[in-house]
Symmetry: D2
């Protein structure tokens, strides 16, 4: 494996592969900042290479993980596809839906899936159990989903559009996957009318009829929190927040709330990497595809438009290549 | 006290007063169905009278509780006001906002508060504690409120508008009281586009800037459930659902969900009646006023309009008499 | 009603009767400290009388509540019985089992139940639901009960024996009532071997075969807490701790723990007083009897003995008069 | 790695190493039942060998996992020690404390730690967090621990002594590790006096003064459950039971209880194997030692004795070799 981008996310992936993914080994690391690359590569005995292109084209690299800044994703994925290398690209796949669709076309032209997008929630034990609960018919027909996504304070998502394309994009992918459905239209609003519009409240209509209410709040203050309740005709199912230990001290019976999404989703990242590595080496990845990445970008664009227009904006998708049928 | 309407709600009030409200005694009961009236009156030694008017005008009745069908509320309240009798009227105060405003004017003309509207949640220990948590500044500035209101199956609310005026009206009053603010506009939507539009999802804008997301679902299947989470700049506060006993049996660790709102809000009804009775006998009620009842009707009308128009509808209120300043 | 002892407990009873028990009125109050008596009596319009005897014998007093210091209970109950007055005596009924048995004999001689002991947990909605869950067979045959009883800091129970006779006595009565069984033997131990032996851990054998593990800790630091889990052949049932509001602030998702047992059991006290008042006025109380009070004293004595001896001590009861069959 | 015993536990270890432990590879498997061995070995490409001795002495095996029946543990460990091979032996280390002490002496004679005992709870994120909470001083000085260990139905532990040596032995090791203390004495009792004495209630005294109350119930009916609450001078800390999803259906708000301890402790087993593998290959294991295994056996023996004698039995330990200082 080669890893491009050795910041917080990339370095964590490198550690996770070394500690928990027997089928893979990180052999090469690239980061714009050479010290950062060395710090992540050294403990696992990987080489630091001089450029992303060199890493991708190296014969010692069977598969590539892209964890560099968002604006570089599309171009790096394009190089991987051209080189025929399996690639796991952190979300978002691209900055615009058009750019993402270019990657869909490029991969489809090759006739083989090489690309997986890092929507790690699809591997989270909680979300997986929630999806199975729906599939098993426990809640009946789904009518509504209430999704909540909060950070203690904004880090990556620091402007109105970035909150949608950087944070809410997880919900946009998650609800489609949870309900096995597509987003038909979206409206995004905020109680904040001047300055950074945070929190944002999205209302989403699925083609199958369900509605979604999603709150994303990147300055929620108290910690990192992801919640999801699915409301059906027979009952509801919800992620059950967990903490290892509860304490009763000084008049409070409480559990800690993490303030770090990497720790919160540690299992999801481990299972994502382990599953992807196993599949990538046999050339048959089945996780979130280029098409899923494009769709999330397209829905996010409609969301950004809605935040300005105040209207419910339809999501129109371009043709879906047979590869993603 | 005289009680008009001895159905489920009225009969429960009669029992509650007899068992838990030392300052009051039910002396007269009227119900359209004479047998119903006797069944409720006999155990507490109250008289059954021949008409609502007779009850209101009886010298043995210091204060009146109206728990008859919704469409009769406004006229009965009007007679109480004319007779100078204290009256606790179940929600909604009237069928239309205009009708409700007529009562506001009638009471204001008398220069004295005689009317309280049965928004019993304002007396519920959970909602009271939630309001105090906000007032104490625990969550910082309120940005969002997520409210949920579910019944196992529809009983009173059986059409699109009735769901708003009969069930959601509780949320419409609650959020204004919780945040000490007024509703500026409302949008009501539903994932159901044909037939009974249930559940409904309301988005509400408060004049002070907070937004509310409220789900009302009167055929939720699993039971009666009321939830509320307030999201602020420093953290969140939520009603903490409670059950007396949890069991672990046959692979499930669970608590029962009631399917009965009277049992769910038993404490709220008891405290409401006890507080009102104490105040009514001294002529100084401080609970939800005619104005609050009118405002809830006005917001509900905007909600009903929005459900048809699909648009965010503003709430315009008529002049607020000084009595309700 | 007359109330003897207007300290925290007595004053609370006076307020509860005035606010929530329509069938009763407090007409007379006595306290060793005359100012204390006035402070509690004045708000409800009751008279302050010069002695407990005077209160009991007053023709204006139909029933007596004893909330004076523990050592005075037995003598005051004796006077009530002699006067033929209904009496609700706070626990413990007496300081020794012998003394309590004297009251059993005295009441039995009169052939009529006049005395109820203030084991208010039998009226607590949580414990009542827990008992019904057992009776309904939900957990199968009961094997074990885990009981926990904690105070933030010791107030009344300040020595080794007092912890048993003042605090643990609640568990001693509760388990017998919950399981409809009698305590056969008891062992009480403590991790503290020098100084105040707090917490104490009791192991209790019921005649029917179940075992109880009960922790009483009167300096638990964090607050007031009462827990109980019943373990049966098919599953378990437990009190479900409740709080009106939960908050997520500063990295903690928590609910408050009360530090006041009066607030914790407010519902239990209200229902106890209301039920007792209703029954006492018709001369037919059915709550915890003199016999129950004697049994609790006898078990507590065995517990105190065990704490010294280190052995499992049998509970031997004297003859049970037919009145308590 | 070589694995001896490919039943449920051994097969799970083989799968876990293949899927999640990059530093190790299972190269050889032995099971008394050859088909069982093949079924576990084939998917990971390991060889099936003809005897446990052959496996241990194979030059292709750097470290051995023993997951064969309990009575074979001691002899197999002895062979591993003689061969100088690192070994992870499932609990219990031996059938008797004497036998276990023989292994302590054998390892100590070699002057190097080669043996780790499979007390996997020491690697469970919940127990690790609970221990850190204690160490951090959050609960103050520990006074009591309440431990609960329940199986849906008895599988391995099917007689009175086996319940202690097979199931309760986890609690016996856990409390010593949690409190960094030693068991001084133990008493084991049961509400069941004839037939299989299940559940059992142990009272344990630590040398440092804390007391433990531990319930082990291997026919609890409803599922697999492990709970632990630590009570200190300032507050309490407890394992916080978790489930991925909660549902509200048909009047119950609940979460599933697993009935499988392997699934319950999946993370613990993964981290145990990963940590041990990493250390074993460098010859420096730091997990539960031969001494810990011996101590657990010695405490279990005192427990078995107590179950018959009814008395509190002291735990006397033989000399602790310097290797385990």
């Amino acid at each position: 494996m080669g890893v491009i981008g050795a910041g917080a996310m990339g370095a964590d992936h490198i550690r996770t592969i070394a500690s928990s993914v027997p089928s893979a080994r990180v052999s090469a690391v690239y980061d714009f900042n050479r010290d950062t690359a060395y710090a992540a590569a050294a403990p696992v005995g990987a080489d630091v290479v001089g450029s992303a292109e060199e890493l991708i084209e190296s014969s010692g690299v069977d598969a590539v993980i892209i964890a560099s800044p968002d604006r570089t994703h599309a171009e790096l994925v394009r190089i991987c596809l051209a080189a025929g290398k399996q690639v796991l690209c952190e979300k978002p796949l691209a900055v615009t839906a058009d750019e993402a669709y270019g990657l869909v076309e490029a991969e489809a032209a090759g006739g083989q899936r090489l690309l997986q997008v890092g929507f790690m929630r699809r591997f989270d034990p909680g979300f997986v159990a929630l999806r199975r609960t729906i599939t098993d018919g426990v809640v009946g027909d789904v009518r509504l989903v209430h999704a909540i996504h909060r950070n203690a304070s904004s880090s990556t998502s620091t402007d109105d559009a970035g909150l949608i394309t950087g944070s809410m994009i997880h919900e946009l992918d998650t609800v489609a996957w949870l309900l096995d459905d597509e987003v038909a239209s979206i409206r995004v609003e905020s109680p904040i009318v001047e300055g950074f519009r945070d929190p944002q409240l999205a209302t989403i209509w699925m083609r199958g009829g369900a509605m979604i209410s999603a709150e994303v709040f990147v300055n929620a203050g108290y910690g990192y929190d992801v919640r999801c309740e699915v409301v059906g005709s027979k009952g509801t199912a919800a992620l059950s927040p967990s903490a290892p230990v509860s304490t009763r001290v000084a008049g409070v019976d409480g559990v800690p709330v993490r303030d770090d999404f990497v720790a919160h989703f540690a299992d999801a990242y481990r299972i994502e990497l382990s599953t992807w590595a196993g599949e990538a080496l046999t050339g048959s990845t089945t996780g979130p595809s280029a098409w899923d990445g494009y769709v999330a970008n397209a829905v996010a664009e409609a969301g950004v438009l809605s935040l300005s227009s105040g209207a419910r904006e339809p999501v129109t998708l371009r043709e879906r290549p047979a590869l993603y049928a």
